[in-house]
């Protein structure tokens, strides 16, 4: 495995530059700001616009065992402060990812986390096995939560026993740090988090998109060809924040917050609620500089607050209730 080229998370901040380092299980990051899967392509798409080296980690487009063509168009629609998508997990498949995308990603100084998805428990395990010894892969994020697959995949993210089985299967096939990405489309997110924590996950990330839909009244038809899709963007931030807070209270694993994070203040809300790190998603589409600005904004906040280390503010929300 490639040695992670980054500063130790254990540095204490000296002088005026606070230490943004965080640890997500065995994965050490120089700062807590990652790009969310499905919103940053395979990173190369942004190389002209973004200093990729300033990212805490890059999480690439979800990878399946075989290439997927995705859903028919239209696949996206804008909603109030958000967007609905039904891309359908279009991706190049694990083998072409390894041969065609990893040589570029390997050269980046930011750790690369590969998001994986399958139609069966065996597929998850097989993808994990194939990625296990690929140089440059720093961790796996297991997607059990995409709303845009039809083959019963939704059960992986909504039934605790199934989520645990997928987690165990990936754990068995890989030595890599293992993050499980949770779906918000459940009655009790804490049950899901506990299930994957008990099954061997090193961390959980949440939330994936909320299932939604939009309708064109003139044509009386759905705006997405797939009829329903996943809602993301600032519109979902309060839901995400609530779930991150609940999960961070309930489990001891690191939690990664995702959902409508556009500014440093958004990210800080999640960190205070108990997230050890955050992912920037939809904002990458409309503001490619968002993730970099968030890193700078967090640094400025810590300086203003007189904090030397980011980890010292994680989970310091004062609710006033016991």
């Amino acid at each position: 495995m490639k040695e992670l080229r980054m500063e130790s998370a254990g540095n204490t901040g000296r002088g005026s530059t606070p230490d943004l380092g965080v640890q997500i299980g065995p994965l050490v990051l120089r700062n807590p700001v990652m790009t969310a899967s499905g919103t940053f392509g395979y990173a190369r798409e942004f190389e002209n616009l973004v200093d990729l080296a300033q990212l805490g980690a890059i999480i690439v487009k979800g990878i399946s065992l075989h290439p997927k063509p995705g859903n028919p168009p239209p696949r996206i629609v804008e909603t109030a402060c958000g967007m609905l998508n039904a891309i359908g997990l279009e991706n190049v498949g694990v083998d072409r990812f390894i041969s065609g995308k990893m040589p570029y990603l390997y050269k980046l100084s930011s750790p690369v986390v590969v998001n994986i998805l399958g139609d069966s428990v065996e597929e998850y395990s097989e993808i994990a096995r194939r990625l296990d010894r690929v140089e440059g892969v720093a961790a796996l994020e297991v997607n059990i939560s995409c709303p845009n697959v039809k083959k019963g995949g939704v059960a992986f993210g909504t039934v605790p026993e199934m989520a645990a089985r997928v987690t165990e299967a990936v754990r068995g096939g890989s030595r890599l740090p293992l993050i499980v990405k949770l779906s918000p489309n459940v009655t009790d997110i804490v049950l899901m988090a506990r299930a994957v924590a008990d099954a061997g996950a090193d961390a959980v990330s949440l939330i994936n998109t909320l299932i939604g839909m939009a309708i064109d009244p003139i044509s009386r038809s759905p705006r997405l060809a797939n009829v329903i899709g996943g809602l993301s963007g600032p519109a979902i931030k309060p839901v995400a924040l609530r779930m991150v807070w609940q999960v961070a209270q309930a489990i001891s694993l690191p939690v990664i917050g995702i959902g409508g994070i556009t500014t440093a203040n958004d990210a800080l809300e999640f960190l205070l609620a108990g997230a050890s790190a955050v992912q920037v998603g939809t904002a990458n589409f409309y503001d490619p500089s968002a993730a970099g600005n968030i890193v700078q904004g967090i640094t400025a906040y810590l300086q203003e607050q007189g904090e030397d280390r980011l980890v010292d503010i994680v989970g310091t929300l004062q609710t006033g209730i016991d």
Partner: protein, 270 residues
């Protein structure tokens, strides 16, 4: 290829018709590298609603670092953009996508013979064709031998734009839905007479218009490049939201287009 994210000052804002606007912005990086047919993603407001950028083809591009965008107010995004004032800063990402190409000679627009090319624009599809016309003119073509066919709903939407093509030496034929200027009816009606002499067709406009143009070009075996419009979230190949049906499966308009050889696309669907 270089891309830029720039805050660009609005230098001028012209209302060409009731709901048609032209903004000229200081965008030096984009202006220095853009090719005809490429587009920019525009943040129409600083707020979160509307959230996504809007794609606009580059309408004109000047050596002094200015670019122009031409658009019609059709929804919330374009309405907000139309309200922006001279001096306002607008966040642009670009230039994005591919561009129109000359006949096998890249973006230099050199052609294999002296036969005319034909530019066909409908409505706001005229926008990228003026940039193309200016580039062709710069390449030293005898533009008076080429053809420009422009269509719109009414005269108001065509007059100032038609003059700009005429000023470059192009003979311009017009068609309007209401017959207020030029041919009353559709652009493709004008094409049958021209097509047998033409080496290359470039078109951008409403899907139905382009579909008819493509059919005629395919019958006459004339190469045709089309510039497509679709919904996009990022414009950079990350969201994968902008797919359309190609002959060999789905294609991404932002990266593989927005300009396509018409033969690459599946026109019978939709």
């Amino acid at each position: 290829m270089s891309e830029f994210q720039q805050k660009c000052s609005i230098l001028s804002r012209d209302r060409l018709a009731f709901d048609v606007f032209r903004l000229t912005l200081q965008a030096p990086g984009i202006a220095a590298t853009a090719c005809p047919g490429q587009f920019v993603m525009v943040r129409v407001s600083d707020g979160l609603d509307p959230l996504l950028r809007r794609p606009f083809s580059i309408h004109r591009c000047f050596a002094d670092g200015r670019i122009s965008l031409l658009f019609k107010v059709i929804g919330k995004g374009t309405e907000l953009l139309a309200r922006r004032c001279i001096g306002d800063q607008v966040d642009l990402v670009g230039p994005l996508g591919n561009g129109f190409v000359g006949n096998g000679v890249g973006n230099g627009f050199e052609f294999s013979d002296d036969r005319p090319v034909c530019l066909i624009g409908g409505g706001m599809g005229i926008a990228p064709l003026l940039f193309l016309a200016e580039q062709l003119h710069k390449s030293g073509r005898e533009t008076e031998k080429d053809h420009v066919l422009l269509g719109a709903r009414t005269q108001d939407e065509l007059t100032p734009l038609a003059d700009e093509f005429s000023n470059l030496g192009y003979p311009v034929q017009l068609a309007t839905d209401d017959g207020s200027v030029g041919h009353k009816g559709f652009i493709p009606d004008l094409l049958d007479f021209i097509l047998p002499t033409v080496e290359q067709v470039y078109t951008c406009g409403p899907h139905l218009m382009m579909k008819n143009v493509v059919r005629q070009c395919q019958q006459a075996e004339v190469p045709c490049q089309v510039s497509l419009e679709t919904h996009m979230a990022c414009g950079m190949g990350a969201c994968l939201g902008c797919t359309v049906n190609g002959k060999k499966g789905l294609v991404h308009v932002c990266k593989q287009g927005p300009v396509f050889d018409a033969d690459q696309l599946e026109w019978s669907l939709e």
